[in-house]
């Protein structure tokens, strides 16, 4: 079976998305707390705490420097964890996918719906964080409003990456590896809490070539500072291409795993 066969999708994908939305809304009060609290914790500890010992970075206060990174990290985490642990539980423990593919929906549509849902989680969390952070006057408007649509695209990227791991993980515990070996380093080395420019060249190039968060941070930061960097188009292109390729790969890997 081909790894890059283009999946045939229909509007029925939305039914899978809707199922997850319904579950989410049943507990929405709980779901809305983390994206509310998280930026506050980081802003106070790093921005206003640690930040008082840090000189401006390129003429920007440390709090203003990390504010976009917090949004980017949230975009990454929301969809990544939704489409790893969340999807794995639905696939393996709840047999939700099995139940759905006995209906007119195909496995391709189920996986596409899951990935779109993951992206939606990023979107929801990014919007909440945007509101919270804007109260501290750390981001520029109206350019920052573009983060709202962008968060969905960034979410698609990390949801697709996550689904590839979910499709190939022998059990739920092995999902810890991508969390620790991929997500954690990205959290630190993607121009999040210090600029990429302080890194040695090879590491910096690696971050640009292979760490998706680098591109998400770079775009979000351009938007919150209302200062489009030279890389913004390159980053956007990188995200679109990688998202598309990994989306297709994720669907095919899942098909391989579940259709026996």
């Amino acid at each position: 079976m081909a790894y890059f066969e283009i999946p045939k999708l229909s509007r029925m994908v939305s039914k899978v998305w809707l199922r997850n939305w319904d579950v989410f809304m049943k507990t929405f009060k709980v779901n809305f707390v983390p994206p509310f609290i998280e930026p506050l914790l980081y802003l106070f500890a790093l921005g206003f705490g640690l930040g008082t010992f840090i000189e401006d970075i390129d003429g920007i206060s440390y709090a203003r420097f990390i504010a976009p990174a917090l949004i980017a990290i949230s975009i990454m985490n929301s969809s990544f964890f939704e489409c790893t642990y969340g999807s794995y539980v639905r696939m393996y423990y709840q047999k939700t996918f099995d139940a759905i593919i006995a209906t007119p929906l195909s496995i391709e549509e189920v996986i596409a719906g899951e990935i779109l849902w993951g992206a939606t989680r990023s979107f929801i969390n990014a919007v909440i964080m945007l509101v919270v952070i804007s109260f501290f006057g750390l981001i520029e408007f109206p350019s920052s409003l573009l983060i709202i649509p962008f968060s969905f695209l960034g979410g698609l990227l990390f949801a697709s990456i996550a689904m590839c791991f979910t499709a190939t993980s022998p059990n739920i515990n092995t999902l810890n590896y991508p969390s620790f070996l991929f997500i954690s380093p990205m959290f630190l080395f993607s121009g999040t809490f210090f600029p990429l420019s302080v890194l040695p060249d090879p590491v910096r190039y690696f971050a640009i070539a292979a760490l998706p968060l680098t591109h998400v941070v770079s775009i979000v930061r351009s938007l919150t500072l209302a200062a489009p960097g030279e890389f913004i188009l390159f980053s956007l292109l990188w995200i679109v291409v990688v998202s598309l390729v990994l989306f297709v790969l994720a669907v095919n890997l899942m098909k391989k795993r579940l259709i026996v």
Binding site: D22, V23, T96, A99, A102, T103, P104
Partner: protein, 306 residues
């Protein structure tokens, strides 16, 4: 106009391999509109694998398989639209209540909301779960879960429903409740296909059935016909002992020794028992009706449930 009767399911030389392992081997059968068709066989016979191919969720390795006259490989969506499914593992959605399970499922069939609501109410009534409407799946008993899965399988008003071990693990009362529901589906003209390793279930419910063992179909027919053909109506049983065998040989009575029991297949149990009692000294002797289990035992030398 010429009406050609198309079987609801038609399989010819159907095969399924998992790697090198052949799970379904050159199987042929056809299921007619409106009948209850059973697949009886022990665990591992290949029943679930076969059902999954019919449900278009597991691709066949070879052979022909058509449902409603459509090929499972090329028309899965059309077939699945017309079919209801009760899988072996009740994969209900634990994130939802009883009611929401049916409503969410109805969306996968694109059933308009108002119709789905009416259908859900009707089905909850049918499977006697109205009072449990708002209960979370976790708190349902095994029998209730099975009934809810049955209701879920009916949400799209299917012409064909496939049930994989519909009563597995249920107590007798819960099983009979399911049987009643299946009988009433049959009365509505819905084609019912079921698998089971309970012979009473097979003989009670099925108009026709096949007996499967080790990936193959052994025989096909009406339950009573199969029993008559392979056994006779009754079985007279005696515990195995040399004296009894000697006597039977002398009398020229045909018998088989199965698992420590001498079995005499007959259509006239009274006469046979009387004759044996007067001619041979057999000790304890019992006569009983023959069952599908006896057919299976005769054909394979194994019991259905080891």
């Amino acid at each position: 106009m010429v009406v050609v009767e198309v079987p609801v399911i038609e399989a010819h030389g159907l095969r399924k391999q998992y790697g090198d392992f052949v799970a379904v081997d050159d199987v042929s059968f056809s299921v007619n509109e409106g009948e209850v068709f059973g697949f009886l066989g022990p665990n591992g016979a290949g029943k679930t694998t076969l059902m999954k191919m019919i449900q278009c969720v597991s691709p066949k390795t070879g052979g022909k398989l058509e449902v409603f006259g459509m090929d499972v490989d090329t028309h899965p969506r059309e077939i699945k639209k017309l079919m209801g499914v009760v899988p072996q593992d009740s994969n209900l959605d634990p994130d939802f209540s009883v009611y929401a399970n049916l409503m969410v499922y109805s969306r996968y069939f694109n059933i308009p909301h108002a119709d789905a609501k009416a259908m859900t109410e009707e089905l909850l009534d049918f499977v006697q779960l109205k009072e449990k409407k708002d209960t979370i799946i976790e708190y349902l008993s095994g029998g209730m879960k099975r009934r809810l899965v049955l209701a879920r399988g009916l949400i799209n008003k299917p012409r064909l429903i496939i049930l994989d071990e519909p009563t597995i693990g249920l107590d007798p009362q819960a099983r009979h409740l399911i049987w009643d529901k299946l009988k009433s589906l049959r009365a509505q003209g819905i084609t019912v296909v079921l698998t089971t390793h309970y012979l009473d279930e097979a003989s009670q419910l099925c108009d026709r059935l096949v007996i499967m063992n080790q990936s193959k179909i052994l025989v096909e027919g009406k339950p009573d016909d199969l029993i008559k053909k392979y056994i006779g109506t009754d079985i007279v049983e005696v515990e195995e002992n040399p004296a009894a065998i000697k006597c039977l040989e002398r009398e020229g009575t045909k018998y088989e020794v199965v698992r420590g029991m001498i079995q005499i297949y007959t259509n006239h149990p009274r006469e046979m028992t009387a004759a044996l009692l007067s001619n041979c000294d057999l000790g304890k002797i019992t006569a009983r009706s023959a069952t599908l289990e006896d057919v299976f035992l005769k054909l394979t030398g194994r019991k259905l449930r080891e």
